[in-house]
């Protein structure tokens, strides 16, 4: 059975991948089409409930909720991708270096990773905001920094396991350098673990971005973001409760999709589980 066939039979993966595909398509669609220009203020039509003209209604400034959700997806995906990109680049490099060098360098890198965990993304964002003011870059950097130790730890642990394998020993006996072994044996063999981790961290990044935007530390007006839509929706809770529902559902489906896809990938990419199938 090919990988794709196995993948589509795996329920978690199939549901997760479908939701993730929807999220990405939504984000891409927003570049070419939205029912109304996102952020276009139309006060006479404010707080309209669901209708044929406005599928999910309008907010307190008459902006179309569907259009804002579509464009919000774009920023959620972008923040997730860049923040995970920062985490994976720096974290994997540090983890591989720690595993290749061992000794005090490994100890130093891993203790630094432990230390960084004392500063969750929100605390880093608060510090950055106090200095540079709120904004998209602040939230990306804060979430990115928070991802680095997570990737460093998982890379180092998986890489250490590969370094004890016999084929690595054979390669060392042949006189190959640490860096040659790292890039030709270690990295390809831990790629699966990293893909799974990246999927799950992407989900966490979307949650973190939403929280930061909700608090006003992330994406700034007039750029639409799901977190800020929830903040504005909360203020209109008595007049238009639906405003506080749709952006939340968009976040839940995105995060659920990524988590299910990550769980599915973990099963599918683990050769021990694959053989049992």
């Amino acid at each position: 059975m090919t990988f794709m066939q196995r993948a589509w039979r795996h329920k978690s993966f199939a549901i997760g991948a479908t939701l993730v595909a929807l999220l990405i398509l939504t984000a891409l669609l927003s570049f070419v089409w939205t029912p109304y220009p996102a952020g276009e203020i139309d006060v006479p039509n404010k707080l309209k409930p669901m209708s044929a003209a406005h599928w999910l209604g309008t907010d307190s400034l008459g902006r179309d909720v569907v259009s804002m959700l579509l464009v919000g997806a774009r920023y959620g995906v972008a923040v997730g991708l860049i923040a995970v990109g920062i985490g994976i680049t720096a974290g994997v490099a540090l983890g591989l270096y720690a595993a290749a060098r061992r000794g005090w360098i490994e100890e130093l890198i891993m203790r630094s990773a432990d230390f960084t965990l004392a500063f969750p993304a929100l605390l880093t964002a608060i510090m950055l905001t106090a200095i540079y003011g709120p904004g998209l870059v602040t939230s990306i950097v804060a979430i990115g920094i928070f991802n680095i130790p997570e990737f460093a730890r998982i890379t180092r642990a998986s890489a250490n396991a590969i370094w004890t394998r016999e084929y690595v020993l054979a390669s060392r006996a042949c006189g190959k350098s640490r860096w040659h072994i790292t890039f030709s044996h270690v990295l390809p063999n831990i790629a699966n673990v990293l893909i799974v981790q990246a999927t799950i961290r992407f989900a966490i990044a979307i949650l973190a971005e939403a929280a930061l935007s909700y608090l006003g530390l992330g994406t700034q007006p007039p750029t639409p973001s799901w977190g800020r839509m929830l903040n504005e929706g909360q203020a209109m809770m008595y007049q238009a409760p639906w405003l506080a529902v749709w952006p939340g559902l968009a976040i839940v489906f995105s995060v659920l999709g990524l988590n299910l896809m990550g769980d599915g990938l973990r099963d599918l990419l683990d050769p021990r589980l694959a053989r049992q199938r």
Binding site: L123, M127, A130, Y214, A244, N259
Partner: protein, 326 residues
């Protein structure tokens, strides 16, 4: 057997000593980072606070008041020295000691965090044990599906949904605010219930999954089979052998979750307009009160570091295999 006891105590003693040294170094490093980020990098806090139109004299005066004319190392040492004596400096925007402000707000944040963690633990252990005991049956599948959704729900959105249901629709609770402990302690506690539930339900979703898999892992171990074979009842096996061993991974995750709880509390306090540390730090950011932000961030980071330390110490007490790692 008695001969092993002092040996094990010694190993645990060395482990605790090493862990304590790491704890102190981590705290010191955190204080340097917070000070470097907020005390040095932004330039002159007086300039930032007074804005672009400020006169040089005004900046100089405020700099002297804030002690910014001294070298960074001296400022760092007096900041850390002060904190060790409970003096976090003076808040510029409130003209009140930072420690007093933090103390007042902790009266909301600490009970909220404690209530949320208690709810999380009770809910997660109950659901995790229930799912493990119904492994692969409808109950297990239901708990796992619910927890998968729970993990995907942002706590602040769940908080908004709780307000929509219990405050807007049913009118059982107020939509936010805090009456204070002095006037009516029961009303104050009631004001913390929805925030604590919104924090706990999302955290419990993760912890329930960990509890379930930890219990299932331990139940497959040989010593559990042996305990059953020697005639112990299912309940005795569960309480005496399974839970104690399964508690180690559960405790690890609880420790890690504490960092989430700290940040979650900041967010949820803002949803419910609770006058806790989370609100205070945002007011401090808006007022450009760097020393206040510095104090709160340091306190929150230190809390996470202390909890991680306590969790490691608890391992030594709980985990019978620790001697191998030490």
């Amino acid at each position: 057997m008695r001969g092993h006891r002092p040996h094990r105590d010694l190993i645990i003693g060395i482990f605790l000593l090493r862990r304590f040294a790491t704890f102190v170094v981590t705290l010191a490093a955190a204080s340097v980072l917070v000070f470097a980020a907020l005390g040095i990098l932004p330039g002159n806090a007086a300039e930032v606070r007074l804005g672009e139109s400020a006169t040089p004299e005004a900046i100089k005066e405020l700099s002297q008041k804030l002690g910014l004319d001294r070298p960074a190392s001296a400022r760092y040492l007096s900041w850390v020295g002060g904190m060790l004596h409970g003096d976090f400096g003076l808040s510029v925007s409130y003209d009140t000691p930072v420690a007093t402000l933090i103390g007042e707000r902790l009266a909301v944040t600490a009970p909220l965090a404690l209530l949320a963690m208690t709810l999380t633990t009770v809910l997660a252990l109950a659901l995790g044990l229930y799912a493990a005991s119904r492994h692969n049956q409808a109950g297990d599948v239901g708990v796992m599906a619910a927890s998968q959704i729970g993990i995907a729900v942002p706590n602040f959105w769940f908080a908004i949904l709780l307000i929509l249901l219990f405050a807007v629709k049913l009118r059982w609770f107020s939509a936010g605010g805090f009456p204070g402990w002095d006037d009516d302690p029961l009303q104050a506690l009631k004001a913390l219930i929805l925030p604590a539930v919104s924090l706990a339900v999302v955290q419990a979703a993760i912890l329930a999954r960990i509890t379930r898999s930890a219990v299932l892992d331990v139940m497959r171990e040989d010593f559990v089979r042996t305990a059953r074979a020697k005639g112990l009842s299912q309940r005795a096996v569960l309480w005496r052998h399974v839970l104690r061993n399964a508690f180690v991974p559960v405790l690890t995750v609880m420790g890690l979750q504490f960092a989430n709880l700290v940040t979650g509390t900041i967010v949820v306090e803002n949803v419910f307009s609770l006058p806790g540390l989370g609100r205070l730090v945002f007011q401090a950011i808006n007022n450009r009160d760097v020393l206040l932000v510095q104090g709160i961030v340091m306190l929150l980071a230190a809390t996470v570091i202390v909890i991680n330390f306590v969790v490691d110490v608890l391992y030594a007490v709980i985990d019978p295999r620790l001697k191998v790692h030490a």
